[in-house]
Symmetry: C2
Subunit: 338 residues, 2 copies
C-alpha cells in the first residue's frame, strides 16, 4: 500500500531466516481484513509503502535451528501478530500486549499478502495443523489468524454466558464470527444488527435468532422489545464507529457488558450511559494464539465453519481488486490465492 486507494503488486526479495527462532512460511491462503480498509481509505502517500496483510495459513519452508514445534512441510496457522511467548503478558495469555509484539503488515513489519513471510518466535506463534491443505478446511483455519479469534474475543469481553441474551452490532466478518462465538458459548438469544440481507442471512445460519436492520433509536427500541424490555446481557460492538458504540451501550442491559473489537475510530465511550447502568466495557486487540488453541478443535471437527465468511477468491496478483470489492461492500471478505 502506497497511500489511500493505492495498492500495488510488487516483486520483493525472498524473506530469509534472520534469527534461530524464525520460520519461513509459504503462504497457502491469505486475505483482506476489514481493518486493512481503514488504511486503504486514509493512508498518507508513502514512497517505500507498507507490505499489507496479517492473516495466513501456510506451509513451513524453513525453520531456524532453535525452532522445535514446527518443521519444513508442516501446515501452520499464523496469528496476526508475533509475540515472544515468554514475557509476563504472554504468560498471562495477553499476547497482544507482548513486550516484543510485532504486528504483521504494519509499521514496516512484513505483510502476509505475499507468497512467503518470515515469522519471528515461530514456536510461540505458529500452530501446526494436522490436516491436508485443501479448500474444505483452509478458509476456516485462516479465520483463526484474526477474524474468528476476534469474534471470540468480542464474545469473551462481552461475557457471553450459557442462556444469555446477546446483541452483535455489525454484520461484517467480525460480527458474523461474533455470532459463531456467542452460539458456541451457549447464548440463548443472538440478535444481529446489520443492513445486508446476504450477511444477516449467513448470521442466521451461524446461530443468530433475530435480525435488526434499522438504525439508531429505532434499533434500540427493537432490541428492547426483543429482550423483554431490558436489553442484552452481552453486546459485541464489531464496527468501531461512534454511532455503533453509542448503540451498543444503549442496547446493553443494566449490569451487562459491552465489548469493542474494531479499532475505535472515535474519541470517547459514552461516560454517563455506561456509568448509570453499571455496564462493563471491554475489548481490544485479540490475543490470538491462546484462542487458536481454544477454537482449533471445533474448526477441525466442523462444529464451527467460520470460513464461510469468505464469499470471493481472488488471485494475489489482482489484490487491488480485492480491496475494491470489499471497500464497495460487494464482497464480505476476500480470500487471496498466492
Amino acid at each position: 500500500m502506497y497511500g489511500a486507494g493505492d495498492v500495488r503488486l510488487v516483486d520483493a526479495p525472498d524473506p530469509v531466516i534472520e534469527q534461530p527462532t524464525d520460520a519461513l512460511i509459504r503462504v497457502v491462503r491469505t486475505c483482506v481484513c476489514g481493518s486493512d480498509l481503514w488504511t486503504f481509505a486514509d493512508m498518507e502517500p508513502s514512497e517505500q509503502g507498507q507490505a499489507m496483510g496479517h492473516e495466513a495459513v501456510g506451509i513451513v519452508e524453513d525453520a531456524g535451528k532453535d525452532v522445535a514445534t514446527v518443521k519444513t512441510g508442516d501446515l501452520v496457522i499464523m496469528p496476526m501478530f508475533t509475540a515472544d511467548g515468554s514475557c509476563s503478558f504472554c504468560c498471562e495469555g495477553l499476547t497482544s500486549a507482548c513486550r516484543h509484539v510485532g504486528f504483521f503488515g504494519r509499521m514496516g513489519f512484513p505483510g502476509a499478502q505475499a507468497e512467503a513471510i518470515r515469522v519471528p518466535h515461530a514456536d510461540a506463534n505458529l500452530v501446526r495443523v494436522d490436516a491436508a491443505p485443501d479448500d474444505a478446511i483452509v478458509p476456516s483455519l485462516l479465520t483463526l489468524s484474526d477474524v474468528m479469534a476476534t469474534g471470540h474475543h468480542a464474545a469473551i469481553g462481552a461475557e457471553v454466558k450459557r442462556g444469555g441474551k446477546v446483541a452483535v452490532v455489525g454484520d461484517g466478518a467480525v460480527g458474523l464470527c461474533g455470532v459463531i462465538a456467542a452460539r458456541r458459548l451457549g447464548a440463548e438469544q443472538i440478535i444481529v444488527l446489520g443492513h445486508h440481507d446476504d450477511r444477516t442471512n449467513l448470521a442466521r445460519e451461524f446461530g443468530a435468532t433475530d435480525v435488526v436492520s434499522v438504525d439508531g433509536e429505532e434499533a434500540v427500541e427493537q432490541v428492547r422489545l426483543l429482550t423483554g424490555g431490558t436489553g442484552a446481557h452481552s453486546v459485541l460492538e464489531c464496527v468501531g464507529t461512534e454511532a455503533a458504540t453509542a448503540t451498543a451501550v444503549e442496547i446493553a442491559r443494566p449490569g451487562g457488558a459491552v465489548s469493542r473489537v474494531g479499532v475505535p475510530h472515535y474519541a470517547g465511550i459514552p461516560a454517563f450511559p455506561t456509568w448509570v447502568k453499571n455496564i462493563r466495557v471491554a475489548g481490544g486487540p485479540t490475543p490470538v494464539r491462546p484462542y487458536i488453541d481454544t477454537l482449533l478443535r471445533d474448526v477441525l471437527d466442523g462444529t464451527i465453519q467460520p470460513g464461510r465468511v469468505f464469499d470471493r477468491t481472488i488471485e494475489l496478483a489482482k489484490v487491488a481488486d480485492a480491496y475494491q470489492a470489499m471497500a464497495r461492500r460487494e464482497a464480505l471478505k476476500v480470500l487471496l490465492n498466492p
Copy 2:
C-alpha cells in the same frame, strides 16, 4: 437546597407511613456526600427546593403492617436509595437498577439530612444492627449507607485481587474507602493519588503503601515506576472528572481494570487507550444493600474503621456550614447530628 450555594434549614411536616411496607426512622446521624457538592455547586434556583442527603443511621420509630424484619426501636442502616427487593435486577443483586428505585435526596424524593425519614420497602432496604447507637460505632455504620459501600464497589469493579497492584485516584472519602476495600480484598500494593497530606496520611493508615501527590504525566510516570513499569492491575477512579479518568486509564496495566464510582462529569472514556491495552472499564451507582451484608461484620468487629473519614461533626441546624466546610476542602466529610 434551593439553588447553588443556597442551603436552608426548614421546618417540614413529620413523615408518615404511607404504604404497609414503609418504615419511619428517626435519624441518629447523617452526613454530607461528595456528590451533594455537585448540587451545591451547580443547582438551578428552585422555589420548592430539594430535600438533601441520602446517608443515615437511625432508630425505627414506626413500621407498616407488612414490615417483618425491623420493628420500633431497632438501630438500622439506610442505603442511599430504596429498591423493591423483588424485581429481576434486585434478585441479581444490582439493586441500583431496581425497577422501582428511589434515590433519597433527589428528584423530589425525601432527604436524609433531616430529623426523620420515611423508607419505602423497609424489609428490602433497612439493615438491623445489633449494637448500641454510640459514637464508637455509628460513624462507621453510617458509611455503609454509601461511601464505604461505594469504595467497595470501586474495588469490585476494578477486580481487586489478592496480591494485586492497585491505584486509587482521589483522596476524598470515597477514595479512602476504596483503599480500605482494596486492603480488605488482599491487594499487595495500594497507591493513592492525592494532594492533601492529612488525607493521604489517613490513606496510609487504611493500608495505602504509596502516595503520589503530583498530577498528569508526572503522576503516570511515578505509578509506572512504582509498579515495575507496567501499571496497576486495578485502578479505582474516585473523582469523576475527565482528567482523573484519563489518568486512571493511563496508569492501568494492559489487561487491567478501571472502575469509576463518582458521577461522571465528562463526556467520554478515552476510547483508544482503553482499547489498545484491553482494559476493562466498570463502575456505576453502588448496589448498596448487598454490600452492607458483605461489609457489616468487618465494621462490627473493628476489622475496618471507615467512620474515620469523618473529621468534623456539625449540628443539623448548621447544615449550611457543613456544605461550606466540605466545598472549601476544610473538612473531608462532615457528620451531621440532628
